[in-house]
Symmetry: C2
Subunit: 407 residues, 2 copies
């Protein structure tokens, strides 16, 4: 194993998570231990910061500062939605070369993995030794190869705690409640709302993910059925739910605004929730129908992290630095689930993670397409860890005196 | 002081809070210590449960169960939005009389205080000894006499942690972010978003409450100004913001659905947020504008309570039971702030809290009407207590090599 002397560059891209800083801090603290690392740089605002040379010297941060940042949600190095074109990737390589960067770590989703892949190729073509590591993160849990993504567990914990609370609220003041959760193509995060259930009649009673076809007719019928049974109904729904033709339900009603990647804007609007509650109001005779969109808070809420997720996010960064600096390897850091429950970290080639996203496997969704299976709960529970305890009053009924027709 | 032998009845009304169960458990645990208390009953679904004799025997609950319920958000005895008419209050009294209830505790807002007042009058008229205690709760903090309301501190903590996270998110991926917070007439909860600020440029940069007149023109001008300064802008806005004529901005756009109390539906819809973000999109050339409505999650989120609030909520219940059972008094339990910071509990006559709500005093809102003052922060800080720590990366900039025009 050769030990190339040079600088480290670390950056973060895409949507923030609650533990994304654990990963970059894992890279930095590990990198600072290696003799051949002359400096550890951070780019501000991801690849945008690299091409603009908006770099900071993380060799000069204190450990206390880094540890505090590690516990801070959202990208501490700031992020970007810039689409990594080939020209941009070439520019990234040029900046690395100019600054003597020999180890580049990019923390992000499948777009970021693709950036890593292209930058790596550019360096190879130029005969410049540049180790490139993709450090995975996403709340959507839609990366290939890895068992799950750092960031997903903490967002799931937020969603589960939100629905546990909403379930208690809805039990106290009955009605239909619809909660819209992030997830354009993958329903993993929405599915985590099922963790909120404790008692047999707890919600969410219906869970709709983009992987199952969503129809207005079935939705209204489902809600009616649950409401008839429990006198209330809680629905968890992905922002990306799709009709039989694969078109996003929301896309047909949000006015068509597109984000920088050419996708319709799904988050940051209450349109889908209001649409669905309108359907229930019009299609049933249920009086109280409410919809909330969990929005940006679910990915950045201060003070709600899964401890397992936090630790794993740190480790993917640390392992990434060990693979690249200690072993001169490129790749994306991935996790393999072993036993019940332990994680083994390994490197997978960048192209295996780049660009394409993954979806919830069929075995995690029930046949009707309105709930998750126990197999999913087994999958997600160790990633999220324990939730705060909640309990109902356990007391016997008092015999009525004035009214005789009590059941 | 006479000691009337008889039963205790406790119930909860109105919107849930994160600590409302601390209060009812405080009543129950204290009541069970008194010899003249023969049984401790709870009504399910507030006054609705009382008139339907839907009662449970809390004498038969375990202490472990009660303590677990105390730590559970949302009304453990379930709640109601039933308007307490005179006929209903008469029925409540009849049920108390039939069951030998001598101590009635009702946990709720100003409507619940009014229920207590009327039930008390009915008992007096009938010459039946019935002690009635209103135990305060509201996330809106809009009760008269008391320094603040149990439930407010925990909801404020949620709002502050949500905005702290959103601020970090918005700093990583810049744009305009609008967060809509509960509060029909009182802006206390929205104002608490100011606690999210740590660094000088942290958001929320603009805070709009119902107590200050809201105009579209001023709003757009405010956002433009902040955006020009920071390249981003976070807005915290009450669902109940009003125009110069005192009409809710949301009321003009939600389709006019009314709740059981004849008020326009403000919560459970993303309409106001989408309206405001539409105004900014149309009135400025800012590309990325997002709006979230914090919705029901802010009042019931599992696992976010202020420790001070939790303790005070327990104490108002416990003190209420001591006042009524130990001292044979009626009234609403109120808190007086002394020193920096301690609370003294006292009873205030029911009519002083009933019906009318209170608002944010002028001294808590800045002159322009788009922010809170330091006086408000001094008021709210001890109620919410410490927030999770968060920090930015502190590292020096690296001198650019390729681009020379860097600042």
């Amino acid at each position: 194993m050769s030990a190339i002397e040079g600088k480290v560059l670390v950056a973060q891209g895409g949507g923030p998570t609650a533990v994304i800083n654990q990963s970059f801090v894992g890279v930095v603290l590990e990198a600072r231990k290696h003799k051949q690392v002359t400096r550890v740089y951070g780019a501000q605002h991801g690849i945008e910061g690299i091409i603009n040379e908006d770099l900071i010297d993380l060799t000069e941060t204190t450990t206390a500062n880094l540890e505090a940042v590690a516990n801070t949600p959202s990208s501490g190095l700031l992020s970007t939605r810039m689409k990594p074109t080939k020209a941009i990737c070439q520019k990234i390589f040029k900046v690395c070369q100019a600054h003597g960067v020999r180890y580049f770590f990019y923390c992000g989703g499948n777009d970021s993995a693709d950036t890593c892949r292209i930058v790596n190729e550019e360096a190879d073509k130029a005969g410049y030794e540049l180790r490139v590591i993709h450090v995975p993160k996403t709340i959507d849990n839609d990366l290939k190869v890895t068992d799950h993504c750092p960031g997903y567990g903490s967002a799931s914990k937020y969603v589960a705690q939100a629905f546990a609370g909403v379930n208690l609220d809805n039990r106290a003041l009955a009605g239909v409640y619809i909660g819209v959760i992030m997830g354009r193509d993958a329903g993993f995060l929405t599915a985590s709302s099922a963790l909120a259930r404790k008692y047999p009649d707890d919600g969410p009673h219906l869970i709709y993910v983009p992987e199952a076809t969503f129809t207005k007719k079935q939705f209204i019928a489902d809600v009616k059925k649950v409401y008839a049974k429990y006198g209330r109904c809680i629905v968890a729904v992905s922002e990306g739910i799709q009709d039989a033709k694969g078109r996003a339900i929301a896309e047909q009603f949000t006015g068509g605004e597109k984000d920088d990647h050419g996708n319709a804007q799904l988050s940051g609007t209450g349109a889908l929730g209001d649409l669905l509650s309108g359907w229930i109001k019009a299609g049933t005779n249920i009086g109280r129908v409410r919809a909330d969109t969990l929005g940006y808070i679910q990915r950045s809420f201060l003070g709600c992290v899964s401890e397992v997720d936090q630790r794993e996010a740190r480790e993917v960064g640390e392992k990434g630095a060990q693979f690249a600096i200690g072993h001169n390897l490129d790749g994306s850091v991935a996790m393999k689930r072993v036993g019940n429950y332990a994680i083994e970290y390994f490197l997978t080639p960048l192209h295996t993670v780049a660009r394409e996203a993954t979806h919830m496997p069929k075995k995690y969704i029930n046949k009707v397409g309105n709930d998750v299976t126990n197999a999913f709960l087994d999958y997600v529970r160790p990633i999220v860890g324990p939730l705060p305890h909640y309990e109902r009053v356990a007391a016997p009924a008092v015999k009525p005196i004035l009214s005789k027709k009590k059941k």
